[in-house]
Subunit: 341 residues, 4 copies
């Protein structure tokens, strides 16, 4: 139902992730209504009209932002446009949800933060959706309740199934590298579980296990890193683009009285198969199957924050910090040195 409190949302970008956000907004997020969309691709505009019943599909973002019947925009545009698009949307008076990462450059992050500061009534949230996954939420609640004592170490890894087509190689020039593309999620999780300590220094290393084409871009297909925070807090990260079994995001939170592990087995569902291969379970092929519910819940959080006029659980500053640490990891990898923060 649409009531006076329903948030009217316009979406910009209808690629793979854009479509998923559009479907969630149209069908699965209470309190939100998808009223307009924007894409330079005619086919995508037709899809959103035909499949989701969204009649207002524009080719230009400016037209979307000019609409008076749009309260908030979802930016699912290419990363390099994120900062500029967020600034434009804020200037147009819209609340903004933007897919991660905020930017690949710290100055850009800060430009967005500065613009947001000028619009204290508008909410801005970046899509670090892991936190909204029910399992991560539950683990965080347990940590907060003191169930594992004081948390002091987070080990978190983001492992993607190998894509033999080499998409990662083509994407390498604009991805920001494996740490900014993948480990930012783990960085955000580590900060969140450890209570947002200040990072002190990082060390990273990497290797190319399969995709030699990454070498010319200074990127790797497997990376590992250590981040030290103030107060003796530690985080270890691993990222891979070459797994055989599926997408696996797993995190361990070590506390003085116990440890929580989230996602240790990336099982697809509750089925166990006993056959000539032994006892086994199938795995989530990509991050999307793993985090489908998280995407809905992060959107709902954004809608609720606006409805209740409070800051979203995940702040713009969180996104900047994840980017800042991610950039330091990349520097450590390429310069082969410890990077102080």
């Amino acid at each position: 139902m649409t009531t006076s409190s329903t948030l009217r949302v316009g979406i910009a970008g209808l690629g793979r992730m854009g479509r998923r956000h559009a479907e969630n907004l149209a069908r699965r997020v209470p309190g939100a209504k998808l009223v307009a969309a924007c894409s330079p691709v005619a086919e995508e505009r037709e899809w959103v009209a035909r499949d989701l019943g969204v009649e207002n599909a524009h080719a230009d973002l400016a037209d979307l932002l000019a609409r008076k019947d749009v309260d908030a925009v979802f930016l699912v545009t290419p990363t390099s446009f994120h900062p500029e698009h967020i600034v434009q949307a804020l200037k147009a008076g819209k609340h903004v949800f933007c897919e991660k990462p905020l930017a690949l450059d710290l100055a850009e992050c800060r430009r967005v933060e500065a613009e947001a500061a000028k619009h204290p009534k508008l909410k801005v949230m970046i899509g670090y959706g892991r936190r909204f996954d029910p399992s991560y939420s539950d683990a965080h609640a347990k940590v907060k309740a003191g169930e594992i004592g004081t948390p002091y170490l987070v080990r978190s890894q983001n492992l993607d199934m190998n894509d033999p087509s080499g998409f990662f190689v083509r994407f390498a020039p604009t991805s920001g590298g494996i740490f900014l593309d993948c480990s930012v999620h783990d960085i955000d999780l580590a900060r969140w579980f450890l209570g947002f300590p200040k990072p002190v220094r990082v060390f990273a290393a990497g290797t190319i296990a399969i995709h030699e084409g990454l070498r010319e871009h200074g990127d790797v297909d497997n990376g590992v890193a250590i981040c030290e925070f103030e107060g003796g807090k530690l985080a270890c990260f691993a990222a891979s683009r070459t797994m055989a079994h599926g997408h696996e995001t797993s995190t361990e939170v070590f506390g003085t009285r116990g440890r929580l592990a989230i996602g240790a087995n990336p099982r697809l569902n509750r089925v166990d198969i006993s056959d000539a291969h032994g006892v086994r379970n199938e795995c989530t092929p990509t991050f999307y199957e793993r985090f489908e519910e998280a995407f809905q819940r992060e959107t709902f959080e954004f809608v609720q924050a606006i409805a209740e006029d409070r800051p979203p659980a995940l702040t713009l500053h969180d996104a900047t910090e994840a980017t800042r640490i991610g950039i330091a990891l990349r520097q450590s990898l390429t310069a082969r040195k410890i990077v102080e923060l």
Copy 2:
């Protein structure tokens, strides 16, 4: 959005399960719109108006059935009313979704089947939701694809967490007993996985582990049973109301080339806790947390079957058969003999 193809649904019964169906219909099922409700309880009528925005809330089922703007009804009324309510709804020209069990008496089941036969255009579906759980769906697809060869044995159990308040005892006079209340789900799963073979005979036994009050009702709090089908197919059932760890529905399907197990560990989520108790995971407390998604998907199946004018995946006859076998199990338990079917 509401389009001409949107199914307009009225719901009768707003108790625990009724509210959940109402919320799903109002918010989470594409293609359906909750337009009216019916409950003898004023408070429940207020709830559906206030929380779900359903303005047409009636005290009498007759008023709900008289509405021209209702295409289908959801019956979440007490079991003893199911047959009569389904018949009334069919006579009023409505599609019917009714919570399980269809009835506690075979004659009643057949009366409903007979009435439904007079309304070939109307769809009737009984809520054996297990089949719509993503894990059970996946397992069934694997069986159908021949991945475990020919299935010949199903072991399935429905174990509920002990309720120290003794709700089961008070519910005993009208529940139909543990096999009709709990094992009907397992019976339906066994038939489904084994290809709907004809049952031949059953044997059941049970015990009272905790709730002595069940004895005067001829019921038990733990039951086990064996069912033989034509062609040498077998099923074993177990049902319990006295578990300590939560609700566990688990099923094993044995085939000539492998075995599938669904729900072996009723884990609540993807969190593993390592502490002084060892390595552990929390469990789904009730069937609802376990099958939340199944309830949405079964509703969607009902809506789709109507939209596509085809029989629902789960037929009225399936419900009759589950009831028939369930009654035989109860007879075997109380008469302490093998019951031929």
Copy 3:
């Protein structure tokens, strides 16, 4: 080392299981020394001399039993000889360990019990080794300590990997059928966990999933059964000869305050493989890999019982009871009726 308290053992039967017992006795069981052996097969006598350094290898059991330097005998002869061999050994003044089953016939069991009663100083133990597996021992200790409250239901299954060569079919005429061959272990476990209640009645059913050749012997390759005991205790059994993944012996003990599961995943070791098949573990191919340690520990128990002049943990009567219930299961299967005990 061999001291005055070392038990001097002679072994009869050097087939597959016989060799394993011989190796354990020769190398891995403190307090025992393998001093003599007996086999009608020359090659086996040569093996025991060459590989285990046992010089006294006889062709006839009588010669083994006549030796003064043998305190105890291990009988690993064909099942049909068990009763007669035990009786002969007792008459020769030897302690006796005999592989399971004690006999396929109740009268034979009782004949052995009667003979044993005439030799109160001699220990007789039948090889129901499951109880000596460290996991089963641990579970039993937990049950005894009241950790799961009062146990009331045991579900236990003995599932063997399919042998495409059809060994089971050739073995069928002398195996006693699937329940006497396989389920006796589960029967013994159920009695042990439930506190040795008196059996009341049983019901069994079975099917031939693969090995049609069993039909002429009245046997099946998959069987299921329910056994009721006095005091409302229950047991469910399953046995299979057609698994694809390996040997799996798994048991669940239900108590009023918790449930224990032993062997739910028959993992070969602590390795998990993540590859194109998902996340998986390999399984124990046969009962021997699964229960290797149990075989050593049961032998050690036998040796200790003699050293301490006390009854072995597993009595001859236990073996008779397992056989008695196993025979009832077979009768129930073939006569298609409930069998009272």
Copy 4:
């Protein structure tokens, strides 16, 4: 049995680990016989005579080494004595098995290597027992067989249960620090799985989560580290002395076609408990319960290497390399810099 090929072993050191090695040598290792022992503690000498029947128990190592009936010695003396004791034993013409670590100082390692080079007929093996654990052996065989393609990354952690008595603090001055005491095992495993690549550089960090007393010794109770090898091979290590659930040694080997995980759940046995805490398993309390079989198998390997006059699977050089990398980790931790190797 004792034959001409039986290895006659003397053991030096009968503390906690010494007793375990002594028991294995006396009872569980085919081809070995424990003929003499040495300990400065009278009570320990009495124990070995009384419980293991070893009559030749000396107070001084020199007396043990002087015995002509001793072919090989097991050194389970304090770490600081290892190098000198190995050298003395070699000079006395004995094969040597020495508990890990070889030494805490690289010069000492090399002194031992130099002495060993003078005695090419004598075998020297250091007790990096992880490799002989059946699960690690199986994983290594799979890697060697190419089952996961080319291995490129090892993540390995050695986590000990917290000892509230603070033993680690008192042990800190002589332990060499957490990396030399614990991570040497993981270092050896990483080298082994990756094919013994040359280490290039390391980075380590640590924190004190509980045991503040470690600070004055420059040690930590939790450490993490990254090691880069030639050819782009990588290893990540973690070590902890503050776990709540037990001892956990877990290792992941990432290859281009799959990943193996060893010991992901440090389960004590095959029992799963379902109770008010959820579904759980108990864990191995210390490394000893976890690696009991590995200790026997490493001893057997040592005995076999001597019998077959071939180098043991684990060379002295392996021990030196593990120490060298461990020292570099400690330097990195305390100097807070990258250490080149």
